[in-house]
């Protein structure tokens, strides 16, 4: 018999998980078993323990998830305390992941949160494969792109180019900037991945260097002058590190001098930090709203208790409130999540023969081909200096060049199409060598 507190704790969740409904996902199986499975089997990784991460950990813990892990490389700063509500003044200087995990575990009995105080790149790729679902509370395009490429690297396709369901690593991505935010779900192979829609991110505002050097008009111009031009002039060879207070202080004092020279008001230490680190003021309630959406979508994906968001929600609270869901589409040629072109080869084929074969392949018709495999540039048709360095590979068997890997991804670039319709392109190839190491299981279609 469950005691009454644990029953009351899952009361609201039970309304979603124990009853059938008309709007549920196709595989939904309501019942107490589902509730227990969410506790026992599902492993959720939260990336980031900052403004969104604190909210996410709390929301997920209250949504019935028991096995959580969180990864964050940062330590707590005083300026975090207004919104990163799991942290107290006495925590300043401690790793965010460790304090966040501890605080949520203190409040929500039964939940187990394992913190990782490190960079996302420090973990082996296999670390990420151990989770059922990955929830992202990040603030950079670069980190999202990295996690996306890791999650997509687990994806496999069957011989009909359909994603193999058991290799899909779902992601839920949240992001906020001031009063604006987004939440999206990424099911690699099914919905667009991060790279399919990279154009959604606006480019960073960058001032022309000559404006900074010659005609500064704003406080930000003075700060960027000190940061980008003056720093190198004075500290030759030493790299500026925005996380060193002395460095930031130096840039600030130089910016003040510059501003005085041009009669520009408004240079402050916090503006200096803001401009140099590209900080946009964070709003606690935007984080709360976006986190709530992300947590609910995580529950929906895992349990099937309702259809999921398709597939990108934007929230804008700048003037009034506007929110909208957009269904973005996949880039079918995406080199990160796309199936690529399946090519079966004899182990004896040389790189040269392989390149010739791509020219006649009906799905490729590629000429002027360059080939790269896991960071090894096997052949570069240009520039001449690289062509010369890679030419000797042409007569070697591709199988040897790929360290005798029976099946793997190879990337090629070249000109596709025929006649005057030629177009330069990048293609992903799923190379399979015939008769080596491939078992019936590997060749089977989606389970």
């Amino acid at each position: 018999m469950a005691d009454s507190t644990s029953q009351s704790r899952s009361r609201d969740l039970d309304k979603l998980l124990l009853r059938p409904g008309n709007l549920v996902g196709s595989t939904f199986e309501p019942g107490t078993q589902l509730r227990e499975d969410i506790k026992e089997i599902v492993r959720v990784l939260v990336i980031g323990a900052g403004g969104l991460g604190c909210e996410l950990l709390k929301d997920l813990a209250f949504s019935g998830f028991r096995n959580l892990e969180v990864i964050d490389m940062d330590r707590i700063e005083v300026t975090n305390l207004n919104r990163q509500f799991l942290f107290r003044l006495g925590d300043v200087g401690k790793p965010k992941a460790e304090v966040a995990a501890k605080r949520v575990m203190e409040r929500v009995s039964g939940v187990d949160i394992k913190p990782h105080f490190c960079r996302i790149e420090d973990k082996p790729i296999s670390f990420y494969n151990d989770f059922s679902i990955i929830v992202l509370g990040l603030d950079s395009v670069e980190a999202r792109s990295y996690i996306n490429s890791v999650a997509c690297s687990f994806l496999e396709y069957d011989s009909d180019d359909n994603p193999r369901e058991e290799t899909i690593k779902p992601m839920v991505d949240g992001g906020t900037e001031g009063f604006k935010g987004h939440a999206r779900i990424i099911m690699p192979g099914v919905t667009p991945c991060f790279e399919c829609t990279i154009w959604l991110f606006p480019p960073q505002v960058k001032f022309p260097l000559c404006t900074l050097a010659e005609t500064p008009r704003t406080a930000a111009h003075c700060i960027e002058y000190a940061h980008l031009i003056k720093w190198d002039e004075v500290h030759s060879g030493k790299t500026f590190d925005p996380d060193y207070p002395e460095h930031m202080q130096w840039v600030y004092s130089e910016a003040v001098k510059r501003a005085e020279l041009f009669g520009i008001p408004g240079v402050t230490y916090s503006l200096t930090q803001g401009v140099v680190k590209n900080i946009i003021p964070a709003i606690a309630s935007t984080n709360a709203i976006i986190s709530a959406v992300c947590s609910l979508e995580t529950l929906k994906i895992v349990s099937g208790c309702s259809k999921t968001l398709t597939n990108y929600l934007t929230y804008n609270g700048v003037e009034g409130l506007h929110t909208k869901v957009t269904e973005f589409v996949r880039d079918k040629d995406c080199i990160v999540c796309g199936p690529g072109v399946l090519i079966e080869l004899e182990v004896s084929i040389t790189l040269k023969k392989f390149i010739d074969l791509l020219e006649d392949h009906p799905k490729l018709l590629l000429t002027r081909v360059s080939v790269t495999y896991r960071g090894d540039n096997l052949y570069m048709q240009a520039p001449p200096v690289l062509e010369e360095m890679t030419r000797s590979n042409l007569d070697l068997p591709l199988f040897e060049l790929m360290s005798k890997t029976p099946t793997d991804i190879v990337h090629v670039t070249g000109a596709a199409g025929k006649g005057d319709k030629k177009q330069s392109c990048s293609r992903k190839l799923r190379v399979v060598f015939k008769g080596v190491g491939v078992t019936d299981m590997d060749m089977a279609g989606g389970a």
């Binding site: 670069e142 490429s149 369901e165 050097a213 349990s303 990160v336 790269t372 540039n377």
Partner: protein
């Protein structure tokens, strides 16, 4: 997806007993895009490229420009390129390694070229930048000054600018600044 997670959990336990796949080097989308840019480079005779770290590091390279016309004819100028994994979302970082008397390049090697900063777009590529850099030597421009004095001389006294450039190229002082020979 919970049924799938159950299956996977079982597989995970089994896999832990066996040996996991060794982790292998991955290429970022930025590296792949750069691979395409580099393999399609079509440089004029006046420009050449080299890869100090060998054929497998395309993210760091050097471009040498030898202008065959204009003020800087006969000079040799080397630029270092450093490409971020977020390329082409982020522009390459380019610095001039040769100390040069030029209105749009300062003595630290910072370059004022619009497509390197405010006008960078992901549809541009490495070839575009190299042509842009070459253009700086054939058409130095006093309206975007990074070297304030050189820009003023170019604007007010092109003849003097020309002789200053020659002096710098041959190695010598222009004002207080010494330039190493780069012919």
């Amino acid at each position: 997806m919970i049924r799938l997670f159950k299956v996977k959990e079982k597989q995970r336990e089994e896999a832990e007993n066996a040996n996991g796949k060794p982790t292998v080097k991955k290429q970022s989308a930025g590296e792949l895009r750069l691979h395409k840019d580099i393999s399609e480079l079509n440089l004029p005779k006046t420009c050449s490229i080299s890869f100090p770290n060998g054929k497998d590091d395309l993210m760091n390279f050097e471009v040498t420009i030898r202008p065959d016309e204009g003020y800087y004819m006969g000079g040799t100028f080397t630029f270092s390129f450093s490409i971020s994994p977020m390329y082409p979302h982020e522009a390459p970082k380019v610095k001039c390694k040769t100390k040069v008397y030029h209105p749009n390049i300062d003595l630290e090697g910072n370059v004022c070229l619009n497509i390197l900063r405010e006008d960078w777009k992901p549809v541009l590529n490495i070839n575009t930048i190299i042509y842009g850099l070459y253009h700086l030597f054939t058409e130095p421009n006093h309206e975007d000054p990074l070297n304030h004095e050189a820009a003023a001389v170019l604007r007010d006294n092109p003849k003097l600018f020309e002789s200053n450039v020659r002096r710098a190229l041959h190695g010598g002082y222009v004002g207080q600044t010494y330039f190493t020979r780069c012919m």
